[in-house]
């Protein structure tokens, strides 16, 4: 996995909440046994018309968002199925970071991202940035008003910068463990295998009981 420190790129908006992983990558594409080739199918049902042409109404098809690498969207992105294909599709399309709001709606506290999706992002080096809802509203407004607006997601400094004539910056919090993993592009399996002896010792006293046969 590629380390991430800072990334600058074009911002695209996807103005929907609760985008589930079925919408991110519909099931027919999960039949692949490969880790690649998912970019074209990202948001398939929204992105393409029944005949197969891109739907000009879908925001990621707007000419102004072509080549975008920072996705800004609404709360609870990535809910539903645990399919890691969703993260692969987002990344293979070209996104390096996603920004979504923590939000309160009608007394419910709703995070920017769903748990398993967020976790899968860390494993693949896709940065998920959670901001306050008014901040994301502001980014939406700025991007809509300023064609070609770019943003920098700076993991070291934990901030998002909008490259307007007068720059706007937003601080974000991130779990230090997650930050370290993203920053160094760590191979978790190799790290855990450094503890192989401890796992063996643990296994000697721990019987994952009752394996019949």
């Amino acid at each position: 996995m590629e380390p991430f420190s800072t990334h600058r790129g074009l911002v695209a908006l996807l103005d929907r909440a609760n985008v589930d992983t079925d919408a991110i990558i519909p099931k027919q594409f999960l039949k692949s046994i490969k880790r690649t080739g998912f970019g074209l199918s990202l948001f398939f049902d929204w992105r393409y018309l029944p005949e197969g042409d891109p739907d000009p109404e879908f925001s990621l098809n707007y000419p102004r968002y072509q080549g975008a690498s920072v996705l800004v969207t609404r709360n609870n992105f990535g809910c539903g199925s645990s399919r890691e294909h969703a993260v692969w599709a987002v990344m293979q399309y070209g996104f390096r970071a996603i920004i979504a709001p923590r939000q309160e709606i009608g007394g419910q506290q709703i995070p920017g991202f769903a748990d398993i999706f967020k976790n899968n992002c860390v494993k693949n080096g896709l940065v998920t940035v959670e901001l306050e809802a008014p901040e994301v509203d502001e980014i939406f407004a700025m991007v809509e008003r300023n064609k070609g607006l770019e943003a920098t997601v700076d993991l070291d400094e934990q901030r998002v910068v909008l490259h307007l004539p007068e720059e706007m910056a937003f601080h974000f919090d991130i779990d230090p463990v997650v930050k370290k993993h993203l920053r160094h592009g760590l191979d978790e399996i190799a790290l855990t295998l450094e503890h192989a002896d401890e796992i063996t010792v643990f296994e000697q006293k721990h019987d994952p009981q009752m394996i019949g046969g």
């Binding site: 929907r16 909440a17 609760n18 589930d20 079925d22 919408a23 519909p26 099931k27 027919q28 999960l30 039949k31 692949s32 046994i33 490969k34 880790r35 049902d45 709360n75 609870n76 809910c79 539903g80 199925s81 645990s82 399919r83 890691e84 993260v87 709606i105 009608g106 007394g107 419910q108 506290q109 709703i110 995070p111 769903a114 748990d115 398993i116 976790n119 899968n120 494993k123 693949n124 779990d175 230090p176 463990v177 978790e188 399996i189 790290l191 855990t192 503890h195 401890e198 796992i199 643990f202 296994e203 006293k205 721990h206 019987d207 994952p208 009981q209 009752m210 394996i211 019949g212 046969g213």
Partner: protein, 518 residues
């Protein structure tokens, strides 16, 4: 050979817990505990939750950054989320560390009309990849020939693989199902699948805990599906994010194992990766009964039960969040939108877009447009054209029995198609032995083979654009059951009544309900 058993420290814990109730602070045990890593003193002074106990028993190591290397007892594998993990292992020349703790099945791609005949070449390649990967890595595969093929979350429990106190993972978000036994079961991504294969562990940070208490009793015709849909309606689909739920209370105790699995299954629809229920006599009876080749038997079972009895949450244990729901006020639930939190009582109407907690006006408008519904429409005026009785949420033998009772001697409404898809081959066999298949056939339903089927339409069972389905599954997302298909999530009982009448009905006042108590 049945081997036992609980690691030494579990026994120590249970001993200490018993002591503690008699003697508030026992120096002898405390000093014994202090040798153990990680907050032993704290564990003595604080009552523990079920989650905490299962967690503690699986901590291999706590790393300086607070991450835990957590041991995994059961790794369940299906064809969709595993091929890239096996490939990753091969590329890095790593092996499956404990193939004997890894079990797999074929479910998502299987055609349920003719499971031996996968016509789609890409589906077939994925199924073959799993067959080959299992063979090459010495992993037990429950394929068609074994007679134990089925949805991964149906076969874990029925084979006796899922037991109290274990950690169970699978590259599938509905692994939360297994928590019904008091195990810690949660879904993982494919990178983590590879991690478990290579190390038999996962790197985890501890979740917060969420106590969901169901007081009172269910009304006749209402089910655990209604309980969990009600919960999701209250807390929202992200309400459980970052938490492990523990379901408790009188209404939970009164549920069968099958009904408990339905609740835990849908924890993820409430945002929680795991949902647990403390094991009790209902759990022990389920494990002890039937043909469960991997469950302990005889003395081993007695010993196991003695241990399992130490698992429930202790009085006074603290949770990070709590909600209490009066079960006797839970009505039959029907979803109207494209998120499981978009749900109302069957007596209600499609809501006003401004009045849905947890969803913005736009969220609701988008959902209603997709569902082709107007605010104010009575739920009982909605007429599905398809009934799907299936999925890891509600396709267990008890679900099939109840529906069979409700529809026996009746005919389905002509306006709709009814699909019945048992969760596993074993469930299908059992149903056939009881003559339930004939009841469904006489009703006009399709009696199909085991698999995920129309829960997600990765196989030929799919809704066509614009079709409307009353489904016993767990997700009503756009396109989930087929592109353009519209899903209403309901209990099996509600699906049955709908199949008879051709539209949703309040099962509590439906004249066919008495058949259930007959």
């Amino acid at each position: 050979m049945l081997a036992i058993f609980a690691p030494v420290n579990w026994w120590a814990d249970s001993l200490i817990n018993r002591r503690r109730s008699a003697v508030r602070l026992c120096i002898f045990f405390r000093s014994g505990l202090e040798k153990r890593a990680g907050g032993a003193y704290k564990s003595l002074s604080m009552a523990k939750t079920l989650f905490q106990k299962v967690w503690d028993a699986h901590v291999v190591r706590t790393l300086p950054d607070g991450t835990v290397i957590l041991y995994i007892d059961r790794h369940l594998v299906h064809e969709v989320t595993s091929p890239q993990a096996f490939e990753g292992l091969r590329l890095s020349k790593r092996k499956v560390r404990r193939p004997e703790l890894t079990f797999s099945t074929l479910d998502h791609n299987v055609p349920t009309d003719d499971p031996f005949n996968i016509k789609d070449p890409i589906s077939r390649a994925q199924v073959e990849a799993l067959i080959n990967n299992c063979r090459d890595n010495g992993i037990k595969l429950f394929d068609y020939e074994t007679g134990h093929q089925g949805i991964v979350h149906a076969i874990g429990p029925e084979m006796g693989l899922t037991l109290p106190g274990l950690t169970v993972v699978c590259g599938d978000s509905h692994t939360s199902t297994h928590g019904a036994f008091g195990s810690l079961g949660f879904g993982i991504g494919t990178s983590e699948v590879e991690h478990v294969m290579a190390t038999q562990t996962l790197r985890q940070t501890k979740s917060k805990t969420f106590k969901v208490e169901f007081t009172g009793r269910l009304q006749p015709g209402c089910t655990s599906k209604d309980m969990v849909l009600k919960l999701i309606g209250l807390i929202g689909t992200a309400g459980g994010t970052g938490y492990v739920m523990e379901y408790c209370g009188e209404a939970i105790r009164a549920l069968s194992m099958e009904a408990r699995m339905t609740i835990c299954n849908m924890s993820i629809e409430g945002g929680a990766r795991a949902g647990m229920i403390a094991p009790d006599d209902v759990t022990f009876e389920y494990i002890a009964s039937g043909d469960r080749p991997y469950a302990p038997r005889g003395k081993a079972l007695d010993k196991a039960i003695a241990y399992w009895k130490t698992l429930p949450t202790e009085d006074g244990a603290e949770f990070d969040r709590t909600i209490t729901i009066n079960t006797s006020e839970v009505s039959p639930q029907v979803t109207w939108g494209t998120s499981p939190g978009m749900v109302v009582d069957v007596g209600g109407v499609v809501p006003d877009p401004d009045k849905v907690p947890g969803y913005s006006r736009r969220d609701v408008e988008q959902a209603l447009e997709y569902m082709d519904l107007k605010p104010g429409t009575k739920m009982t005026d909605i007429r599905p054209d398809t009934i799907f009785l299936g999925s890891c949420t509600n396709a267990r033998i008890e679900d099939l029995r109840k529906v069979a009772k409700l529809i026996k001697g009746r005919r389905k409404a002509d306006t709709l198609r009814v699909m019945v898809v048992p969760g596993s081959q074993q469930i299908r066999r059992q149903a056939e032995a009881e003559g339930i298949d004939q009841v469904f056939k006489d009703f006009g339903a399709e009696w199909r083979h085991a698999g995920c089927s129309m829960c997600l339409g990765m196989n030929p069972d799919q809704l066509k654009p614009g079709e409307r389905c009353a489904s016993t599954s767990n997700r009503n997302f756009e396109g989930r059951q087929g592109k353009g298909g519209r899903t209403h999530l309901v209990s099996p009982e509600m699906a049955a009544a709908c199949a008879v009448e051709g539209h949703f009905v309040d099962i509590r006042t439906w004249d066919g309900l008495k058949a259930l108590s007959a």
